[in-house]
C-alpha cells in the first residue's frame, strides 16, 4: 500500500495522545503546497455577516470570490433574502490598472437603489488590498448619499487566516451596534452571538429562551436584521456560541457597554442544557426563569431519550473522526458522540488555539489523533489507520470519507438539517445512525473484505 507521509514542517501539527509529548503547533499560516482545508480571511467575514438577510453584501474584487460563495450556506431567513444573492464589482483589467473605487461606488449606489437594503457591507478581497482602493472613503461617501450604514469589511484574503476575517466582521458589526441610540437596558434580555441559523437553528434556540422567559434582543447573525443589531446594546447579557468567531465582538461590547458574556454551545444534550442553565442562573433575581428552564430541559430531554437509546444500540463502539472549523465545535461533538456510545479516534480543527488543543487532549482517549490545519492526505491516512466508521466534517472532507467507504455527516455551515438544541441532537443522532448503519458499506471494496467472511 502507498504510504502517506506527513510533511516535516507539519509534524508538530499532528499529535497522537499517549504516544507524543509536545505542545501541538497551531495558529500558523498554512504551509505552501499543502492542500489546506482552510479558506481565507474573506471566508471568515462572510460566515459571520452573511446571515444578515436585509443587508446588501457586495464583494469588491474579481468575480471568483463572489461566484463561489453564492448561496453556499444554509443560513435561513424568515423574511427578506437579500443575503442569498452574490453581488460583485467583477473587476476587470482596466480596474486593476486604474483602480476600482469608481466601480465600487456606482455598484453600491445602483444596488442600494434597486434592492433597498437596510445597510450595506463592502468586502475587500485580495486584489483590493493590492491595488489600494480606499474602500473606507467610498463607503462614507455612499453612506452620506443614501442615508443607510455602508460598512467596509477588511477581508483581503491573504492578510491572515479565517480568524482575522471573523475579527474584521466583528468590527463591522460593532460599528452597527454602536449606532443604536437607546441605551436603556431591557430586563432579562440577551443577545445570541455566533449562531447563524443554519437549517433554522436560531429559531430552535430562540424558542427555548422564549419559553424560559428570557428576551432575545438580537441574534448575531442568524436570521439577522439591521434594526435588531441597533438594539443590541440594550441587552443584559451576551451569550456567545462559536466563540472563535464572536468573542472579539463580545469583548468589545463588554468594554463599551458593560455587557458581560458567557461562552456556550448548543450541540448535544449536555452543552445545550448547560447553556440554558447558565443563562437562567445569570438572571437569578427572577427564580421563575430557572423553574421554567428546568421544566423545559426535563421535557426536552425526556422527549428525545427513547429514540437516542434506540439508536445507541447500533452505534456503541463505532469509531468516529471529527474535522471541523473551530475547536469549540469539536468539544461538543466529542461529548455528543460519547453520549451515543461512540469512540472518537481523530479530532481536528482548521483554526484551534493552544488552549483549545489542551482541552481537546484532555477530552480524548489515548490513541486519538489530534490534527491542526490538516490536509486531505493526512485525514485519509489517519481515518484509515484508525479504521473510522464515521467522519464528521464539511463538504471538502466528504469525498475523502466516501472514497474510503466511511459514513459521513455534514456538520458545517452548508448543512440543511438543524443540529442545534435537543431536537438537533436527535437529528444528529439520526443522521449518524442512517449513515453508519447503511448496508452499502458491505459492498464497498475496502470494507467488503473485512465485513464479509471469506
Amino acid at each position: 500500500m502507498e504510504t502517506i507521509s506527513v510533511l516535516k514542517e507539519r509534524e508538530h501539527q499532528v499529535f497522537q495522545k499517549g504516544k507524543d509529548d509536545f505542545d501541538i503547533a497551531c495558529e500558523k499560516t498554512s504551509l505552501a503546497g499543502s492542500v489546506s482545508q482552510r479558506a481565507c480571511v474573506f471566508c471568515g467575514s462572510r460566515v459571520v455577516l452573511y446571515p444578515i438577510a436585509d443587508a446588501l453584501h457586495l464583494i469588491h474584487g474579481p468575480i471568483g470570490c463572489a461566484s463561489y460563495t453564492w448561496d453556499i450556506r444554509g443560513a435561513l431567513s424568515s423574511g427578506p433574502e437579500l443575503h442569498r444573492n452574490s453581488f460583485s464589482t467583477d473587476l476587470s483589467e482596466t480596474d486593476i490598472i486604474y483602480g476600482g473605487e469608481k466601480k465600487l461606488e456606482s455598484a453600491l449606489l445602483e444596488l442600494i437603489d434597486k434592492y433597498d437594503p437596510k445597510a450595506a457591507f463592502a468586502y475587500s478581497t485580495c486584489i483590493v488590498g493590492i491595488i489600494g482602493d480606499d474602500v473606507e472613503s467610498v463607503c462614507k461617501s455612499v453612506e452620506s448619499k443614501t442615508g443607510i450604514p455602508v460598512l467596509p469589511v477588511h477581508s483581503e484574503g491573504f492578510k491572515g487566516t479565517k480568524k482575522d476575517g471573523y475579527t474584521a466582521a466583528c468590527e463591522a458589526l460593532f460599528n452597527l451596534v454602536d449606532r443604536g441610540r437607546t441605551k436603556r437596558k431591557l430586563p432579562q434580555s440577551i443577545n445570541i452571538l455566533g449562531e447563524f441559523n443554519i437549517g433554522g437553528e436560531t429559531w430552535i434556540i430562540k424558542d427555548y429562551y422564549r419559553r424560559m422567559g428570557v428576551r432575545v434582543v438580537s441574534v448575531m447573525t442568524g436570521d439577522g436584521r439591521i434594526n435588531d443589531l441597533k438594539m443590541a446594546r440594550r441587552a443584559s447579557l451576551n451569550v456567545v456560541q462559536c466563540s472563535g468567531s464572536m468573542t472579539h465582538l463580545a469583548k468589545k461590547m463588554e468594554d463599551a457597554y458593560g455587557i458581560p458574556f458567557i461562552r456556550v454551545s448548543y450541540f448535544g444534550i449536555e452543552d445545550t442544557s448547560d447553556a440554558l442553565y447558565r443563562v437562567a442562573r445569570f438572571f437569578n433575581n427572577n427564580p421563575d426563569i430557572m423553574k421554567r428552564t428546568e421544566k423545559l430541559v426535563r421535557n426536552q430531554v425526556r422527549s428525545i431519550i427513547p429514540s437516542l437509546s434506540e439508536m445507541k444500540k447500533d452505534l456503541v463502539g463505532k469509531r468516529a473522526a471529527i474535522y471541523v472549523g473551530g475547536a469549540f465545535k469539536a468539544f461538543s461533538l466529542i461529548k455528543a458522540l460519547k453520549h451515543l456510545g461512540m469512540e472518537v479516534v481523530l479530532a481536528g480543527s482548521q483554526t484551534g488555539s493552544k488552549e483549545d488543543y489542551k482541552v481537546l487532549r484532555e477530552m480524548c482517549n489515548p490513541g486519538t489523533v489530534i490534527l491542526d490545519d490538516a490536509n486531505p492526505l493526512e485525514l485519509a491516512k489517519y481515518i484509515m489507520e484508525k479504521d473510522a466508521d464515521l467522519f464528521i466534517g464539511g463538504v471538502k472532507e466528504r469525498p475523502i470519507a466516501y472514497k474510503l467507504g466511511i459514513g459521513f455527516c455534514d456538520h458545517n455551515h452548508e448543512r440543511k438539517i438543524p443540529l442545534a438544541g435537543f431536537i438537533g441532537m436527535e437529528n444528529f443522532a439520526r443522521e449518524v445512525h442512517q449513515t453508519v448503519t447503511s448496508p452499502i458499506w458491505q459492498l464497498v471494496p475496502r470494507r467488503a473484505s473485512v465485513l464479509t467472511p471469506k
Binding site: M1, E2, I4, S5, L7, E9, T29, S30, L31, A32, G33, S34, V35, S36, Q37, R38, C40, F42, C43, P62, I63, G64, S67, Y68, W70, D71, N85, S86, S88, T89, D90, L91, S92, E93, T94, D95, I96, Y98, S106, L111, C126, I127, I130, I131, G157, F158, N375, P376, L377, K381, M384, V395, K396, R398, P399, Y402, K403, G405, P445, R446
Partner: protein
C-alpha cells in the same frame, strides 16, 4: 484616451474565474496536480465548487500567499509549494495557474520556474497565466490545455522526422461531462481508431470506490500520449466560439498550435449535440478515418429521429431560456432549434464577442429571429428579461434554479455545475444517444409540470 465605461455590478454571475477552468483541465491529465499561485482561499473555494459537482476528491494545492508574500513576491512560496507537492503527491506534472493576486503583483512565473528547473524534482512544471479579470473559466480551461500541449510538444521535436501515425486523432473536446467523454471514447473504439483526448477527467473525477488510498486518482490523459500529439494525423477541436476566436482574433488553441508548429491539420466543429451536429461529427470522423458510420450509431440515430417524431408536438414552439458557457449554449441551441424549441433567451457570462455569430450559424433563420442573445450576462438581468418573454422552461446548470423557481417553470439541468442533484457528471449531452436523453428529459419535465398543474391530472399522454 480612456473612455469612461458604464459601471454596473454583477448580480449572481453566470461564469466563474479563469483558474477554475485551468484546475479542471489539469485534473484531466494522468498523475498531474493543479497548483494555484496565490492565496489560500481561491483554491479552497474552487475545490469546494468542483467537489459539489463531481462528488469526488479534488485536490488543488495553493502557494498560500501571506501578507509578506504579497509585498515581496511569491517566488519563495511557489518553490516551497512545488517541493511539498513533490513530497506528498509525487506527481508527473504540476499545473501551475496564477490567480489574480500573483498576476497583479507581477510575479514572473516562467522565470521562477526556469530557475527551479535545475534543482526541482521529477514533475514537469507547466504554467498557465490565468488572471481572472481577463476572461472566464472557459478561457482558463482552453489556455491550460494549450499550455500542456505546448510544454510537451516543443518546437525542437520538429527536427527529428517521424512519420505521422495515421490512425491517431487528437481530440480537444472542451468542457464536457464525464459521460460525454466516455461516449467519445466509445465512438473511437467502435471506429477502431486511436484517440488522444485532452483533457480526460472522466475516470479520475468519477472513479470507483478505493481499496487503498490514492494520493492522485487513476485516470487522465497520460503525458506519454500528449508528447506524441504532434505525430497524430488530425486534431479535432470542439467549439464554434473557440473556432471564431482562433480564426478572427488570432487566439492560439491547442489545435491551432499543433497545426502551425507541426502541420497537424485541425478540424473544428461545434459541440456534437443534436442530430445535425452529431452528423457533422461523424462526417468528419469518416473523412479522418475513412470508416463509415458504424451500424450501432445509425440505429441510435434511427431511434432518436423516431423519438423526435413521437414527441414533436410536446416541444414545438415551446420557449426556453438557455444559459451557460458560450460554446455549450451554442451546442444546446442547435439541438433545441432542430426539435422546434425556441431558445428565446441565450445567455452567457462570457464575452467573446462571437456568441451571436456562433448561434446564428447553428439555428434556422426563422428561429434565430426570435432569439435574444446576451453575452456578459448575469442571472439577475437574465431573470428580468426572461420574465417578459414568458418561457416554458429553463435549461442550464444548477445556478438557474432560483430563477426557475421564481418564474414557476421547470429547470432542466444540463452542463456544469450541477450541485443540487446527483448524477451531474453522468449526464450525456452529445451524440445521438445524448440527444435522445436530452429530448426525453425535456419532454418529461414539461409533462410533469402540465400534469401537476392540470385540474384533471391525466394519467395517459
Amino acid at each position: 484616451m480612456m473612455h469612461k465605461p458604464f459601471y454596473t455590478a454583477t448580480q449572481n454571475a453566470c461564469k466563474n474565474c479563469t483558474p477554475l477552468g485551468a484546475a479542471l483541465a489539469f485534473s484531466g491529465i494522468e498523475k498531474a496536480i493543479p497548483l494555484l499561485h496565490g492565496s489560500q482561499g481561491c483554491s479552497t473555494y474552487m475545490r469546494r465548487y468542483l467537489i459539489s459537482h463531481f462528488k469526488e476528491p479534488v485536490d488543488i494545492a495553493s502557494s498560500n500567499f501571506s501578507e509578506e508574500t504579497a509585498i515581496f513576491g511569491g517566488g519563495a512560496n511557489l518553490k516551497l509549494a512545488i517541493e511539498n507537492i513533490e513530497k506528498q503527491y509525487a506527481p508527473t506534472m504540476i499545473g501551475i495557474a496564477t490567480t489574480c493576486l500573483s498576476e497583479t503583483i507581477g510575479d514572473d512565473v516562467p522565470m521562477i520556474l526556469e530557475s527551479l528547473s535545475k534543482t526541482a524534482g521529477k514533475a514537469a512544471l507547466v504554467h498557465v497565466s490565468t488572471p481572472s479579470y481577463t476572461g472566464t473559466h472557459v478561457d482558463g480551461f482552453h489556455q491550460a490545455v494549450k499550455a500542456v500541449v505546448d510544454r510537451f510538444n516543443p518546437v525542437s521535436n520538429k527536427k527529428q522526422y517521424k512519420p505521422k501515425k495515421k490512425q491517431t486523432v487528437n481530440l480537444f473536446p472542451g468542457m464536457l461531462s464525464n459521460e460525454d467523454i466516455r461516449h467519445l471514447k466509445e465512438i473511437f473504439h467502435d471506429l477502431d481508431t486511436r484517440v488522444i483526448i485532452l483533457p480526460d477527467y472522466s475516470e479520475r473525477l468519477e472513479g470507483p470506490s478505493w481499496v487503498e488510498y490514492q494520493a492522485i486518482q487513476d485516470g487522465g490523459t497520460p503525458i506519454s500520449w500528449i508528447e506524441k500529439m504532434n505525430l497524430s494525423a488530425f486534431s479535432l477541436e470542439f467549439g464554434n466560439v473557440l473556432e471564431n476566436q482562433v480564426d478572427q482574433k488570432g487566439l492560439t488553441s491547442a489545435g491551432s498550435l499543433l497545426e502551425t508548429r507541426f502541420n497537424v491539420p485541425c478540424i473544428r466543429a461545434g459541440l456534437p449535440i443534436g442530430v445535425k451536429a452529431t452528423d457533422t461529427l461523424f462526417q468528419h470522423l469518416e473523412y479522418i478515418t475513412g470508416k463509415p458510420l458504424p451500424d450501432k450509431y445509425s440505429s441510435q440515430k434511427g431511434r432518436l429521429i423516431d423519438a423526435y417524431v413521437d414527441g414533436n408536438k410536446y416541444v414545438s414552439q415551446r420557449k426556453a431560456v438557455l444559459y451557460g458557457e458560450e460554446d455549450f449554449v451554442v451546442g444546446m441551441a442547435g439541438f433545441l432549434g432542430e426539435v422546434g424549441i425556441i431558445p428565446v433567451l441565450c445567455a452567457s457570462g462570457g464575452k467573446s464577442s462571437f456568441f451571436e455569430d456562433a448561434l446564428r450559424s447553428v439555428l434556422p433563420e426563422n428561429i434565430f429571429d426570435q432569439v435574444r442573445v446576451h453575452e456578459n450576462m448575469d442571472f439577475a438581468r437574465m431573470e428580468e428579461r426572461a420574465r417578459f418573454l414568458k418561457p416554458d422552461l429553463v435549461i442550464g446548470n444548477s445556478k438557474g434554479y432560483a430563477m426557475a423557481r421564481r418564474l414557476k417553470i421547470p429547470l432542466v439541468r444540463v452542463g456544469f455545475p450541477i450541485h443540487d442533484r446527483v448524477g451531474g457528471t453522468r449526464i450525456l449531452h452529445i451524440g445521438y444517444k445524448g440527444a435522445l436523453h436530452l429530448f426525453d428529459t425535456i419532454i418529461n419535465a414539461l409533462l410533469h409540470m402540465q400534469q401537476d398543474s392540470s385540474q384533471f391530472g391525466y394519467s395517459y399522454m
